[in-house]
Symmetry: C2
Subunit: 335 residues, 2 copies
């Protein structure tokens, strides 16, 4: 067996301030995602400097933030938060010159990302962490041209970044572990829900999952098996109502009744061989079985199946009510 | 080219009552799904007769209904709804003897389903529609042994059937179209949200989609790429919050900014070739591109992208609030 040398993480300068003390954020790229980030950071009370090479970028950005602002007011603005704290810079270098954190949200083109991250690295104060919103490129593939790749991390958000809490944080082979840690703590302080990954997986976690669903949906449309409207209704009236409350693993554990995930796998495991999707199933061997069952038990954290059922039910009812989908009241439909 | 003869749909007796006039429902199988159906039908004011061969079935069923009842009370019971209107029958024949609708929710075993549906067909009054909760078997494969296959349909629910509105209705090759129509109208009258499919697709629609996601999740656990807890958090803190409000197609259309789905496909179409999931993508040819864009435009029904963004935002905020996940108020996290 050959020994593959592990690339040494670049030693970056220490971050110029602690994650809690950040006041100035730069948003590079001002499309749907970059603009959504700008709206989020403004609402959380940061000074935001944005830059985007498109000629109409400033107007588009201000429109996007204006559209998001009522939602952000409803969520509750941080003290001192104001749209007036947005500056649109004329040049990339100006945007990041005194940034304490940089969020890059350029188009998904690898060469463009590589080049842009190198330019950002050259123009940003030493030690300031630079995060990319990339939906799928590993940082290892993007950090190749930067002089200090150690401070480059992925901070992958979900649309719209001002409402969906999740950010997936992961470094590349040359990223300093301290930069990953700093970014995770910064996003946490900025009100996001953070998953810090310890390895690079193309598409990270949530995108792998939602892409599988999306590709299956495209196949169904391509084959005339379902319309776009049926696909959307099948989720919003079905599993989507559960997924806002409980993830797919615990949700399926509850399909096992009082026996939980173990019973569910015993019962439905064989249908993994059925052609229920175009995605081949993994072998449900003992190791996978045990990992899934143990993972669900850990996630339950002592809550019984009955506790989880009650919790899910309360959550789904709250979601049904909140989204105006409660079925008829006492004068219900049966009579 | 050979001509394949189309099997004639069996001519079933007309249903003994209109979908709106049903008062007596039989639930065959009283596990998580069958019991959930029983709870739903009781809450909607029906008389329910249940049967299950397990020795402890009656006790288990009553426990399940008792656990669901507080949720159903919160949703609002139909006039006259009562748990006292449940009868647990000692024999299958007794359970369906005067049923006006039969919901079969037996384990997912094809031979068992075939045999059971034939027995139910023999014991149920002529013309009464019999629906199977099967998660994935096409009715064509299950109706082979019944004397009157014309009244057998799939009515596929989601767990728990007393809370998740969706039911997917589809017939087999020998099912009378009138039975499919009757079942769809009955479920609608019973407070469900119905998708009536015009062709058999293994796994129907929502299961194909959620199974793709589930299989990808199993692969990730098997490969140590994500833990069960990370998978669940990546959905509940991320895409799951959107899917309770807006399906995957329209959700992705909004990732295209003011250009909608067409811009989204232009922008992210190339990443369909990326290894973001183990599911191969379909060719994004002109026909698929046009179908997806047109489908989203139909679904939008005249609402602009800005309208849809505002609608999604209101919905997600409602869901965040309803599930207790609003970030800090005016004393927010940034300062």
């Amino acid at each position: 067996m050959s020994v593959v040398p592990t690339p040494a993480a670049a030693v970056s300068a220490p971050a110029p301030c602690s994650p809690q003390d950040v006041r100035r954020v730069a948003c590079i790229g001002a499309g749907v995602i970059g603009g959504g980030w700008a709206a989020h950071f403004l609402a959380r009370g940061y000074d935001v400097t944005a830059w985007d090479p498109a000629p109409d970028a400033a107007a588009r950005l201000r429109r996007l933030i204006a559209a998001a602002w009522p939602a952000l007011e409803q969520l509750g603005l941080a003290k001192g938060a104001s749209r007036d704290r947005l500056t649109v810079a004329a040049a990339l270098e100006e945007a990041v010159a005194d940034a304490q954190f940089v969020q890059e949200s350029a188009p998904e083109k690898l060469d463009l990302k590589r080049d842009l991250l190198a330019r950002l690295d050259a123009a940003t104060p030493a030690g300031t962490v630079i995060a990319s919103s990339t939906s799928g490129y590993p940082m290892t593939d993007m950090q190749t041209q930067a002089a200090d790749p150690g401070r480059l991390v992925v901070g992958h958000p979900f649309n719209p970044p001002y409402l969906i809490p999740l950010v997936e944080v992961v470094g590349g082979e040359l990223t300093a572990p301290a930069a990953v840690d700093w970014a995770s703590r910064f996003y946490d302080a900025a009100g996001k829900s953070v998953i810090t990954m310890d390895r690079e997986v193309p598409g990270f976690i949530a995108n792998r999952l939602q892409e599988a669903l999306w590709r299956e949906a495209l196949h169904m449309v391509a084959n005339g098996e379902a319309t776009v409207a049926e696909i959307d209704a099948s989720i919003t009236e079905g599993p989507g109502l559960r997924w806002a409350v409980m993830g797919p693993m615990l949700t399926f554990a509850l399909a096992g009744g009082e026996g939980g995930m173990a019973h569910m796998l015993d019962h439905f495991g064989p249908s993994l061989k059925s052609p229920w999707t175009r995605l081949d199933a993994p072998e449900l061997d003992r190791a996978l079985y045990d990992a899934v069952v143990a993972g669900c038990e850990d996630a339950a954290g002592g809550r019984s199946i009955a506790d989880l059922v009650a919790e899910r039910d309360r959550g789904v009812i709250d979601v049904l009510r909140a989204t105006g989908r409660l079925p008829g009241s006492a004068e219900g439909a049966a009579r």
